[in-house]
């Protein structure tokens, strides 16, 4: 029973991982750009949620969309102002560009909000459910389910709508997309917006049950990188499966061999997978 409890909470966390990884995988897959500031996007979204709640007194119903909107704008600005230019440069420039951005965001938060951990009140979303003996915190349930819905929604947008089709067209063949009358730069700015917005939603949801600090993005980003590498670059379903798997593995290893070693296990697994399958578990060559 306890094991089941652990697995369920792993799945709920995993679906949040899946959501914030899907933004990263979208950008990575579309442009072969790694956003090293991804974790800091999550961090900013968490602070958006926190301040929306403490200053504006609004609940998740409002602060989740707010975080999505703000992060969408951030994504577009970052693409137009920085990424669009560094992708043309050497690989080192890409890494430096987004890493530099990460530092600026992280330490601007540090400077503005101090290093103190803050968190939203536990009871912001309901208490705890008891489903057939399984105890599930409402905040985690909300976060997990919503994340799952949004990840699947994002996949549907990409595969079932004209916009998604155009986004994919640009990543498949930029010139051919132009021949269709598609403006590649506009599509990629939108992709960055979407990627960042989904990250924003994920961050706001995580804020419901996770501590908030300027450096929280660092470890979360690593999880996202692992998820994306395992799931295959550019694959939202891959991110979903890998995200759930990582969530469960973390929860199980935390329960079975101790919390500190769960990261060790995840990173080791990641390295082993890269070693065996250099393009990820579900990646295509």
């Amino acid at each position: 029973m306890i094991l089941l409890q652990v697995i369920v909470s792993g799945l709920l966390m995993g679906s949040v991982y899946a959501l914030f990884s899907s933004g990263l995988t979208l950008i990575w897959g579309m442009m072969n750009v790694v956003n090293f500031a991804h974790g800091d996007f999550v961090m900013l979204a968490m602070y958006v949620a926190f301040f929306a709640f403490t200053l504006l007194k609004v609940g998740p119903l409002l602060f989740v969309p707010l975080a999505a909107a703000l992060l969408f704008m951030l994504g577009v600005v970052v693409y137009l102002g920085l990424v669009r230019h560094v992708v043309r440069g050497p690989p080192l420039a890409q890494i430096l560009g987004t890493f530099g951005l990460a530092l600026v965001l992280r330490y601007a938060a540090f400077w503005a909000f101090t290093a103190n951990f803050v968190s939203l009140p536990d009871n912001l979303v309901g208490g705890t459910f008891d489903i057939g003996g399984l105890r599930i915190e409402a905040s985690r349930l909300l976060g997990g389910v919503l994340a799952l819905v949004i990840t699947i929604g994002m996949h549907l947008i990409l595969t079932r709508t004209a916009l998604g089709s155009r986004l994919l067209a640009v990543s498949e063949d930029r010139s051919a997309a132009m021949l269709m009358g598609i403006r590649p730069d506009r599509m990629q700015a939108i992709a960055w917006g979407f990627g960042a917005a989904s990250t924003g939603i994920a961050g706001a949801l995580i804020a419901l049950f996770f501590y908030i600090s300027p450096t929280v993005g660092e470890s979360l980003a690593l999880v996202a990188f692992v998820v994306v590498c395992l799931g295959g670059f550019g694959s939202v379903p891959g991110a979903l499966i890998a995200g759930l798997a990582i969530g469960v593995i973390e929860a199980l290893s935390g329960y079975l061999i101790g919390a500190v070693y769960k990261d060790v296990l995840v990173y080791s697994l990641f390295l082993i997978v890269l070693w065996v399958r250099p393009r990820g578990l579900m990646g295509t060559s």
Partner: protein
């Protein structure tokens, strides 16, 4: 007045010469063939007209307006569609998605189902495979899809780059029959082709390119009898 008029076009890739002096006229409703061997500059010419590669000199005039240097996404909206070399399909997406992408610039979205129907009537095979990924199609089907996709923007002028390349003879026949039908519907065509005989059968007028220049032009009937065509193609007696 010509629908499309290209004057002294030159394109350079860095310092490589893509084409150095190409001039051609495409009259409304006509079928013009661009002939020449590998590397003569046919593809470069079409790509430059479509706005895929920047021009280094010369001009492209469309319905009397200078469109030289417009980016490809703007050119297609004017009514010039290109089915590019190698098809350049979106292989991860379905046949229908590819076709719908072709209609991106369509202002009147109500026309979309009509155009889709037209393509499916022209190419019943595509209708059968509309939910299949483009990557799973055979060579002939890919060519149909590339052509269909270009038609979805409802162009006045359709440019085709090597429609017969790599296709089995029977498929080529069908392809050219379709071109004949499109022509009958009043579509203007500009095709680059290595298969001379075929191209001259369907075209009214042809230009022959050699090392980036238009070296010969004339009515299809005249060129079909021209000894120079063979010389240019096979590089005989060039000294």
């Amino acid at each position: 007045m010509s629908l499309l008029s290209v004057r002294n076009l030159s394109v350079r890739y860095g310092d490589l010469v893509g084409v150095s002096d190409v001039s051609l006229e495409v009259p409304e409703g006509g079928v013009v063939a661009l002939l020449g061997s590998n590397g003569a500059g046919k593809t470069t010419t079409l790509n430059a007209i479509a706005g895929l590669v920047p021009t280094a000199g010369g001009s492209v005039t469309w319905q009397g307006a200078d469109i030289t240097g417009r980016p490809a996404f703007a050119v297609v909206g004017l009514g010039l569609a290109l089915s590019p070399e190698g098809w350049r399909l979106f292989v991860q997406q379905t046949v229908e998605q590819n076709l719908r992408l072709g209609a991106t610039v369509l202002a009147d979205r109500k026309r979309l189902p009509v155009l889709l129907d037209r393509v499916f009537t022209l190419f019943p095979r595509l209708a059968e495979r509309r939910r299949q990924r483009a990557g799973t199609l055979s060579g002939g089907e890919r060519q149909m899809l590339a052509m269909g996709r270009a038609l979805m923007s409802d162009p006045k002028l359709l440019m085709l780059d090597e429609p017969s390349l790599g296709l089995a003879p029977a498929v080529v026949e069908t392809m050219y029959e379709t071109l004949g039908r499109l022509r009958g519907e009043g579509l203007t065509l500009l095709l680059a082709e290595q298969a001379v005989e075929l191209a001259l059968e369907v075209a009214d007028y042809a230009y022959v390119l050699q090392t980036g220049r238009t070296v010969l032009d004339g009515t299809a009937a005249k060129l079909a009898d021209d000894e120079d065509v063979r010389r240019i193609y096979l590089g005989l007696e060039t000294e």
